[in-house]
């Protein structure tokens, strides 16, 4: 498994502002991911954070709205930009463990936009 931490654990933000969420892993991992879990809905992949290259975004998610950094093999950030109430959600990072392609999740960041 992996020990994954996220900061902040929760936040309440004003419309139009931005929030950066941090994800720290206790060991080096090749692949890190960011997911969103909206109230009453399933988890949805936002993007894959690639170390040394730009993130790969899923359909419906764009870099201007969700810029991602991956400066090294144990750390990544997700920024939620120009927030609106529709961005209220839980944001989760996950890491991939070889060789069985298992993904382990962090505790999540609960974001409320007012």
């Amino acid at each position: 498994s992996a020990v994954i931490s996220q900061k902040p654990s929760r936040d309440i933000c004003q419309r139009g502002t931005s929030l950066t969420i941090q994800c720290q892993v206790d060991s080096q991992v090749t692949m890190m991911f960011w997911y969103r879990q909206q109230p009453g809905q399933s988890l949805t992949l936002i993007a894959t954070a690639n170390q040394g290259s730009e993130a790969t975004y899923e359909s419906g998610f764009v870099i201007d709205k969700f810029p991602i950094s991956r400066p090294n093999l144990t750390f990544s950030t997700l920024t939620v930009s120009n927030m609106s109430p529709e961005d209220s959600s839980i944001y989760l990072c996950s890491v991939l463990r070889a060789p069985n392609y298992e993904q382990y999740f962090g505790p999540g960041t609960r974001l409320t936009v007012t």
Binding site: I4, F33, S42, L43, L45, Y101, E102, Q103, Y104, G108
Partner: protein, 114 residues
């Protein structure tokens, strides 16, 4: 389109009353099927990965099975501490090769009463 459907949405059991949760999936090619447990306010906790039809895995009171169209999570003699949301997710092969994206169902909320 790859899709995962879980049933029932919610299940209430008495302590010791065994039951099963269902996960039906439609994917172009199954790379792996994953079961997670999620407690309120926490990230998903990895339980099992299944890779091929006929495969079974067990952990304490939980047993996961896989066919070509669905997976079952059997809970034997559940205890109140088994109360949680159980999530099913699939990874698919696509024309470009393997994808690490997890496609989640909406989960089954299990409540075990003492």
């Amino acid at each position: 389109e790859d899709q995962v459907t879980q049933s029932p949405e919610a299940l209430r059991l008495q302590e010791g009353e065994s039951s099963s949760l269902n996960c039906s999936y439609t994917v172009s090619g199954l790379r792996g099927l994953f079961w997670y447990r999620q407690d309120p306010g926490k990230g998903p906790e990895f339980l099992f990965t299944l890779y091929s039809a006929g495969e079974e895995k067990e952990k304490e009171r939980l047993k996961a099975t896989l066919t070509k169209k669905e997976s079952f999570l059997h809970i034997t003699a559940p205890k109140p501490e088994d109360s949680a949301t159980y999530l099913c997710a699939v990874q698919a092969w696509n024309y470009g090769g393997a994808t690490n994206k997890l496609i989640f169902g909406t989960g089954t909320l299990l409540a075990v009463q003492p």
